[in-house]
């Protein structure tokens, strides 16, 4: 294990070593019925475009196939779109399971797919290694274990970071509540309160998705918040900081989640003086370093943009490839499920925690983040170390 870890950290092209993960070197997966079928349901058209996630996964599989596959087995990967529409998401999942006969799902990134399809996966005994889990069900179902930290764990982590590292006293949290995420965010705040023994100064769950933020920022200022955490997505981050600048608000640390971590956001806010922080899902994608090395190589080879979402797709694909590689015998839903539920920790350089599927009723294996700060139109890492949450008791 130690050997592998150091290999991962030092070698930028650790992909070959990964094939050994989780099983004996003698493992030989077989595929008598043609290529191994994998797939994912993602939001590609509609309100958001998360296609970078599944595209990243596809790049991994394509390059693996080009190199001869796993023990001669190639992988056929189907990317389905759910349009942000639950009905379409349900259809897409059924299409993958019933018609494509996928043995597992992985690398998907969707606004609502977990909530809609977790039950379907359970009924059909298919497991999903979600690339980017967004809705709370991704972290609350026996059949899904995302490779990302997710907004809820990240909320806890960033609150903890703000209070411990940024030394903020009056922490405030404003959430946009979409699609029944209220409970999950409330839980996340509660977890931090239980963990730290402190109480949150103000929680507002009514931030509008569209609409003017001025009243909310005034409220934050007048309540004396010295840190404001929100779950704004990309355009909302820009809107919020612009509004704070317009209102000449000072002395508040603005803390966002990974959904704000894009170069677009940084570019759109070149000269703000507001202190802006956020937590990442994985190794910061804007950093060129050894930990990101293999991911970057894959993306460059595939000609894809290097985005955080593609890290999720890449990582999920890696998990699946390694799981399949460790199977001795035919690759089926059962054998994949058996391997994943064994719960062996899998270590990857771009993630701060070991990935574990296991047989728990819910999964949130990733508990570590790196904190970035906005500076001169760029995201700059504040620390080189992972900020890791203590395990949930």
């Amino acid at each position: 294990m130690k050997y592998l870890t150091s290999l991962l950290l030092t070698s930028a092209t650790a992909c070959c070593g990964l094939a050994l993960m989780g099983g004996s070197a003698a493992a030989a997966p077989t595929c008598e019925d043609g290529p191994i079928q994998l797939g994912s349901v993602s939001t590609i058209t509609g309100p958001v475009d998360f296609s970078d996630g599944p595209s990243g996964a596809k790049a991994v599989f394509d390059q693996l196939n080009a190199a001869g596959g796993i023990n001669g087995c190639t992988i056929e990967y189907t990317m389905a779109d759910d349009k942000g529409d639950p009905q379409v998401a349900a259809q897409a999942a059924r299409d993958l399971i019933d018609n494509r006969n996928v043995v597992a799902l992985g690398g998907g990134a969707s606004l609502l797919e977990c909530a809609v399809n977790a039950g379907t996966y359970k009924r059909n005994d298919v497991l999903s290694v979600q690339g980017v889990g967004v809705d709370p069900m991704c972290f609350n179902a026996p059949t899904i274990a995302p490779v990302n930290v997710g907004p809820y764990t990240l909320t806890t982590a960033m609150l903890d970071y703000a209070s411990n590292e940024l030394k903020n006293e009056k922490l405030c949290a404003f959430f946009i509540i979409l699609g029944g995420t209220q409970e999950a965010y409330a839980q996340a705040v509660k977890r931090w309160e239980a963990m730290s023994g402190k109480t949150i100064h103000l929680v507002d769950m009514t931030l509008p998705l569209q609409g003017d933020l001025t009243p909310y920022l005034i409220k934050a200022r007048d309540s004396g918040c010295d840190a404001v955490l929100t779950n704004q997505v990309e355009p909302g981050v820009v809107q919020m900081i612009n509004t704070a600048d317009a209102q000449k608000i000072e002395g508040i640390d603005w803390i966002f989640l990974a959904s704000g971590y894009t170069e677009g956001v940084a570019k759109a806010l070149p000269d703000t003086r507001q202190p802006v922080y956020l937590g990442t899902e994985w190794e910061p994608y804007t950093e060129v370093n050894a930990a990101n090395g293999d991911w970057m190589a894959v993306m460059e080879k595939a000609g894809l943009a290097k985005t955080a979402f593609s890290q999720g797709g890449y990582l999920a694909a890696k998990v699946l490839v390694d799981t399949i590689s460790s199977i001795d015998g035919p690759v089926t839903r059962e054998t994949i499920k058996a391997k994943l539920t064994e719960g062996k920790p899998m270590k990857y350089s771009i993630a701060g925690s070991d990935y574990v599927f296991g047989d728990a009723a819910k999964h949130a294996p990733m508990q570590a983040t790196k904190v970035m700060q906005l500076s001169g139109g760029k995201w700059v890492p504040r620390t080189t170390d992972w900020y890791v949450l203590p395990p949930v008791e």
Partner: protein, 571 residues
């Protein structure tokens, strides 16, 4: 007419049974799963068809009603409420009813577009509320339990078909009832509907209530279908897309609702297979809806038209047996049926009627004539309750009508026709007769139609020419046998021969039906033939009154009305 409903219902039910059987036998699981969604969406579309297609009120919040039903179903599931999904779905539907009524309330005042904006606002507001409430059971991973015999995909499909069939059949009956006809009438003209004694409030609220109920059921069915739901299932865009599709296909037709369900469900599938992006679907729906609106014909209607061209038209039932004779005339109070005293109506500074009085004795025909702009139609509007205010008194059989709404006056016994026909063209003649004369017997409908030489009850109004529609207009109000009938230029648009014949019929109305008639007409021959007394107006004032001979002969009438100077006559 009951057998017509029965016939249509049977046809719908058997068609659905055949589809269900074929689907279960022939299709693989995945397709059964897809088709199930078709019919769940179909239920939602039917609910929208009822309120928008039939009653003409644009509702852009239909999925919000469905959301209420779905969430209630979810709560009952988590609470393990006895009765299983069937009961939960019903309760969910019922829970949506008060919401529908509350949204329907503004429809009483805000109509058409205003209502569309309010419903869109409601959908937006409901979004923000629903988004904060996690679907019950989602966090504890409790799926909405399907009823035991319908557990599997195919089983649930049959369950949905059953529910869809029940709703479709029930709607066939409702649509052919007086309530259904009143919806169409309200859509076509609220005034005309009120003149038939239809309560506009009742018609609109019932449409919203039933529509919300059905939408709520569709939400509950969706909960059982997917096991768990998210707020996006019911957001504003879903409602808008549903509206676009309903407009395109004509969701108030059974065929249209299914076609719409097919589109919403299978379009994503089709796009997935051809490799096109999913958002193309919405663009297609938008274009389709605009196309349907521009041609004024929904897809169902187009198919219906093409279909009827292809299929040989069934020969109209020429019933050999003659219609039963007219029932005995109704007995109303003797004396003055209608009495108008000192009626004054002002539009701003213009005095449309200046202290006019007239009287219509029971079981007589009184003519009201005068040049254009004399105030004849204003008088009718005032008597029937369509003016916001007037001075003077109007009494029906001695009972003052002030303070009563148009609907209440119609129910009290004042019926009117309009200068231009206002019958909803989608109705059949028989449905219209039942709308106009509540509780009329089928035999009586045929007898009255026969007496007026109108087409058979099965004829659709849209296929009838304008002149005949005027006849049906009159036949409808006459069949109601009210104490007082106000006929506003019934002969306009009729040929001379038809007008004479109509005159004879009107003259016989008091004797055959027991009603008194106030007849407004320009056709002097018809007036002479039908009326026992005449009142003449000019510039809002009463200028003559008396027997036809005396009134028409008076010099002032000759001058005002015929443009003949007294001297000319002398000369």
């Amino acid at each position: 007419m009951k057998h017509a409903s029965l016939h249509a219902a049977l046809k719908t039910a058997s068609a659905l049974a055949i589809i269900a059987g074929l689907a279960v036998l022939a299709l693989p699981n995945y397709w059964v799963f897809l088709i199930t969604a078709v019919f769940i969406v179909g239920v939602a579309l039917q609910s929208l068809g009822l309120v928008t297609g039939r009653t003409g009120m644009i509702s852009l919040c239909q999925m919000s009603f469905a959301g209420v039903g779905a969430w209630v179903t979810g709560y009952l599931n988590v609470a393990e409420f006895p009765g299983g999904l069937v009961v939960w779905v019903l309760v969910g539907g019922l829970a949506a009813v008060p919401v529908g009524v509350v949204i329907g309330l503004p429809a009483l005042r805000l109509r058409g577009i205003n209502l569309a904006i309010v419903t869109l606002g409601f959908a937006a507001a409901f979004d923000t509320v629903l988004a904060t409430i996690t679907f019950p059971g989602q966090t504890s991973f409790t799926q909405v339990a399907r009823p035991a015999p319908f557990e599997s995909d195919k089983g649930y499909f049959l369950f949905i078909m059953l529910v869809y069939g029940l709703i479709a059949v029930a709607l066939e009956f409702v649509n052919r009832s007086r309530l259904g006809a009143s919806w169409l009438a309200v859509r076509h003209s609220e005034r005309a509907a009120a003149a038939h004694g239809v309560s506009i409030a009742h018609a609109k609220l019932s449409a919203f209530a039933i529509s919300a109920f059905i939408a709520g059921i569709s939400g509950g069915l969706l909960a059982g279908y997917l096991g768990t739901l998210v707020a996006e299932n019911f957001n504003m865009m879903q409602s808008l897309v549903l509206f676009a599709v309903a407009t395109m296909v004509g969701a108030h037709f059974t065929l249209g609702a299914i076609a719409g369900g097919l589109m919403i469900t299978l379009f994503p599938e089709l796009l997935r297979r051809v490799g096109l992006p999913q958002d193309v679907g919405n663009v297609f729906f938008a274009v389709g809806a605009v196309q349907a609106l521009s041609s004024g014909e929904t897809m169902s209607e187009t198919w219906g038209r093409l279909g009827s061209k292809l299929l040989p038209r069934r020969a109209g039932k020429t019933s050999a047996k003659p219609p039963p004779p007219l029932a005995a005339p109704s007995v109303h109070a003797q004396g003055l049926a209608l009495e108008v005293n000192g009626l004054t109506v002002r539009y701003g500074n213009v005095i449309a009627l200046d202290k006019v009085s007239l009287a219509v004795p029971a079981r007589t025909v009184v003519g009201l004539i005068g040049p254009n702009g004399a105030g004849k139609s204003t008088t009718v509007d005032a008597i029937a309750g369509f003016l916001p205010r007037y001075e003077g008194s109007i009494k029906l059989a001695g009972r003052p009508l002030e303070g009563l709404s148009a609907t209440a006056r119609a129910k009290a016994g004042i019926r009117r026709t309009w200068q231009t026909t206002r019958i909803a063209p989608e109705l059949t003649v028989g449905e219209y007769m039942r709308l106009a004369a509540a509780g009329i017997k089928p035999g009586e409908i045929e007898a009255v139609l026969e007496w007026f030489d109108c087409p058979s009850p099965e004829t659709v109004i849209a296929t009838v020419d304008a002149g005949t529609r005027r006849l049906i207009d009159v036949a409808g109000v006459v069949a109601a046998r009210p104490p007082v009938l106000l006929l506003d230029e019934p002969a306009a648009g009729q040929s001379y021969a038809e007008a004479l014949k109509l005159g004879e019929r009107i003259a016989a109305v008091p004797e055959k039906f027991g009603s008194a008639v106030l007849l407004i007409e320009h056709d002097m021959d018809l007036v002479r033939r039908a009326c026992s007394a005449i009142t003449v107006f000019d510039f809002g004032r009463l200028i003559a009154q008396g027997t036809p001979q005396a009134a028409l002969g008076s010099a002032i009438v000759q001058k005002a009305y015929m443009g003949i100077e007294p001297e000319e006559r002398v000369a």
